[in-house]
């Protein structure tokens, strides 16, 4: 199969997402929140920059996660339920190629979404500070890694949707993402403590759950902490490998499924 076919599927998936009302509702709501951050920040004293940066990155993260989950869980199951994938899969398109195309289309939607949010946040910071120094490496790296966070969320949603209903897939994907965030808070304590029971289970969870905290540079943007390129590259590699593994699993599951 040529590489071209997954890209054709991806293009159609992006077009589908851009015609979804849900996508626009979430994007508009997040943009309003970011644009409103200037007003909200005036309620605090001396912390305006941090408030704007925090609202911008958090809104991108939360709404991006919702878009990734709600579009992701329907991306395969809806095609099967509505039988729209029948004429596609009856062509010389492999199941893995189809799934990769659907995922790439979703990813392109998320990249567009993050780029839009990042631009809105940068605009608010520029309006507040009146200079460009507030949008530096940390800012770009934070939004870049956030895209990888969303890539993982989307891959989880797509993986569950290859064998489960959209509702159950949403719950499972959100639960694992939530666990990935929460586990980051306690893993250091659990892994260092000597008297923790079932330490092996903690180690397994540490390996299996997505380390969302690793891909989170919100604080670096908010507090102006330094960010090294090597650190960003390492984190990016982790995020990309994790998402790619989930997509490969999803492709494997989907390839074995009867479409009836």
């Amino acid at each position: 199969m040529t590489m071209n076919r997954p890209l054709v599927v991806a293009g159609n998936t992006l077009r589908e997402a851009l015609r979804e009302r849900l996508f626009y509702n979430l994007v508009v709501f997040a943009l309003l929140l970011i644009l409103g951050s200037l007003t909200i920040s005036r309620l605090t004293l001396g912390e305006q920059y941090r408030i704007i940066a925090n609202i911008g990155t958090s809104a991108t993260q939360v709404f991006g996660t919702l878009i990734a989950v709600f579009l992701g869980v329907g991306i395969v199951s809806r095609e099967i339920d509505r039988r729209t994938c029948y004429p596609v899969l009856a062509r010389p398109v492999s199941r893995a190629g189809f799934l990769a195309g659907k995922y790439l289309g979703l990813l392109a939607t998320l990249v567009l979404n993050v780029a839009l949010m990042a631009a809105a946040t940068a605009l608010m910071l520029l309006v507040y500070r009146g200079g460009s120094h507030s949008v530096g490496v940390a800012f770009i790296a934070a939004f870049g890694l956030m895209t990888l966070q969303l890539a993982i969320v989307a891959a989880l949603a797509v993986l569950f949707s290859t064998f489960s209903s959209p509702t159950l897939s949403s719950i499972c994907a959100l639960a694992i993402v939530g666990a990935g965030w929460l586990f980051g808070e306690v893993r250091v304590f659990w892994l260092q403590a000597h008297d923790v029971g079932m330490k092996w289970m903690v180690q397994v969870l540490d390996f299996v759950l997505p380390n969302m905290g690793l891909l989170d540079l919100k604080e670096a943007v908010t507090y102006g902490d330094p960010v090294t390129l090597a650190s960003v590259a390492g984190r990016s590699l982790y995020g990309a490998c994790y998402a790619a593994t989930l997509v490969a699993l999803a492709a494997l599951t989907f390839s074995r499924r009867d479409i009836r």
């Binding site: 076919r5 039988r83 729209t84 004429p87 596609v88 398109v93 009867d258 479409i259």
Partner: protein, 323 residues
């Protein structure tokens, strides 16, 4: 000497078993199917709902994996995605992404079949014209009627000009004009050298378009062959239509045939064989009655199908048909 050309479609010992529910109840949707469809044939795959027609077709186009047997498209195993390049597939009750316009659907699916550029656009335009959808080119699919979606389904199956068409209930959802259009299209495609394999449970569709027929019941092929070999060609009765008869004469004919009745424009007498029909006609002519027509009646495909179903089920055709 050149090697013989492979069959358009060949199926050997094909089977599909589903395991359903928590208790993994075993359902044999298809068992030991053997099929050969030669190039440029129109093959009708008939059977009642639930007989396994759609399962067979879904296996052929790669949507469902068989649990037994093999199938080949022009000699290539169906497990190779590349083999599907030769297929144009119309699903039963087709469905397309409803935010797309018909040209967008055809461009999308055409690209997936390896087409591009001006050639694709030209082909899509001419197919929209051919299936009667050029007036709806600016509408999105969500505004289409069922018949329009079916026509779009036919266009997408033809977009890459495949040598083999696999059509699952192609006349479903169409009005009489639409059905005639599809029948004409199938015959036109045959003239162009295409091979057509289509499923239906409406037997008149088969009689009007097919060279060969396979009858499927409960996941098994119970009869297969050229249409004329499947039909029992013997004359089962002869109907004489004639002018008005006096009541006494009509009674005499009823005694001879068992069925004679008055019609608004004359009388109808049904006789069980040709000899008795000839004798009755001679008596009518001798009595000065005008004979309008003599029509022999042979077994229809539908009657053949019901008879076979009865044979399979030991005299209970309804159970076989409702399996």
């Amino acid at each position: 000497m050149a090697p013989p050309r492979p069959d358009a479609l060949s199926v050997h010992d094909l089977g599909k078993t589903y395991r359903l529910g928590l208790r993994q109840r075993v359902v044999h949707a298809l068992s030991g199917l053997e099929l050969r469809v030669e190039e440029n044939a129109v093959y009708g795959f008939v059977g009642p709902n639930g007989a396994g027609k759609s399962t067979t077709i879904k296996i052929l186009v790669g949507l469902v994996a068989p649990t037994a047997g093999t199938a080949r498209i022009f000699g290539r195993p169906i497990t190779e995605p590349g083999a599907r390049a030769a297929i144009g597939y119309l699903p039963e009750n087709p469905s397309f992404q409803d935010f797309l316009r018909p040209m967008e659907v055809l461009r999308y699916l055409g690209r997936l079949s390896g087409m591009s550029g001006a050639e694709l656009d030209r082909r899509a335009e001419s197919l929209l014209e051919r299936v009667g959808l050029s007036h709806a080119r600016d509408l999105t699919v969500r505004k289409f009627s069922k018949g329009m979606v079916q026509r779009l389904g036919l266009a997408q199956a033809l977009i890459h000009d495949p040598p083999l068409l696999i059509l699952d209930e192609p006349m479903s959802g169409l009005d009489p004009i639409g059905r005639r259009d599809v029948r004409d299209l199938i015959l036109e495609l045959k003239r162009q050298g295409k091979t057509i394999f289509f499923s239906t449970h409406i037997l008149s569709d088969v009689e009007s378009a097919c060279d060969r027929v396979g009858m499927l019941l409960r996941g098994r092929l119970v009869k297969e062959g050229a249409l004329h070999t499947l039909l029992d060609g013997t004359i089962r009765s002869v109907e004489i239509r004639c002018g008005e008869l006096p009541t006494a004469a009509l009674g005499a004919m009823a005694a001879l045939s068992g069925k004679a009745e008055r019609l608004p424009d004359g009388c109808s007498i049904v006789l069980p064989d040709v000899d008795r029909a000839n004798a009755a006609a001679a008596r009518l002519l001798a009595a000065g009655v005008r004979i309008v027509s003599m029509q022999p009646s042979r077994e229809t495909l539908e009657e053949t199908f019901v008879r076979l179903a009865a044979e399979v089920e030991g005299g209970k055709p309804r159970e076989a048909l409702l399996a």
